[in-house]
Symmetry: C2
Subunit: 121 residues, 2 copies
DNA sequence: CTGGGAGTTAGAGCGCGCTCTAAGTCAAGC
DNA sequence: GCTTGACTTAGAGCGCGCTCTAACTCCCAG
């Protein structure tokens, strides 16, 4: 798979894919074709897809790098990986709670404006 | 109220409060005491508290500025204010949905690691 | 043989939201 | 009088996550 195809598939730009690689997020540098171009494997694509989910849910690049390092180090890092994901999970839950709480205020304000608009016209 | 007191109350730093003012987020520049120091009113503090909620829920500074401008312009901007908040509300809902969806994957992975840890030990 | 298009690299640049620095003023307490 | 501490300003700096540029190689179609 070429970088353009992976970009297409993951929604990331080719620039960003190279940046992720430089940032140490890949499990191993993708193999190269004769012309020196990256030829991503299916496993690479799946891994990048996972990265995008973690990223989308707010995990910082640094944490993703730590996670990638653990995966690279192999089987005896399950506990650490689990802990890392659990920490991220807690962040996600907190963020959801924060949003829910702030949503109340926004809804209240919207409602207030609705009434005022009604009242005026 | 001094800037330090407002900082204390809102959890923002004095630096950030001045930055918000420069960024056009205040309804009006807070009045100054004889010594030239800002003396925030209760209304200022309430407004800043609202700003922190909007900010915490992910509203960009630029949107908060637009909102502040509408509030400054007065009563005939209710519709625009409501629209702005509704747009933000939609962003918040989308973000919650995104988090919920990504949470499934994280939970799945955590569960997977739990099993592997169990299986090994 | 000449574009054009897709890839490569190292490294610069950018937008956001702060965060801090430097240099100054002022008031209170020793 | 002198220090300390809270404030003031304009403007620089920073961390993050991209995003883009410049200069290059390679390959293919016309």
């Amino acid at each position: 798979m070429t970088i353009a195809q992976v970009a297409q598939r993951t929604g990331l730009s080719a620039h960003t894919l190279r940046y992720y690689e430089r940032a140490g997020l890949m499990l191993e540098p993708p193999p190269r074709g004769d012309n020196g171009h990256r030829r991503y494997t299916e496993r690479d694509a799946d891994w990048i897809a996972l990265l995008t989910r973690l990223r989308a849910s707010g995990m910082p690049i640094a944490a993703m790098r730590r996670y990638a390092e653990l995966v690279r180090r192999g089987q005896n890092t399950y506990v650490a990986r689990k802990e890392l994901l659990e920490a991220h999970r807690a962040d996600m839950i907190a963020k959801i709670e924060q949003l829910r709480s702030d949503l109340e205020i926004v809804d209240y304000k919207i409602d207030l404006y609705s009434r005022r608009i009604m009242g005026e016209e």
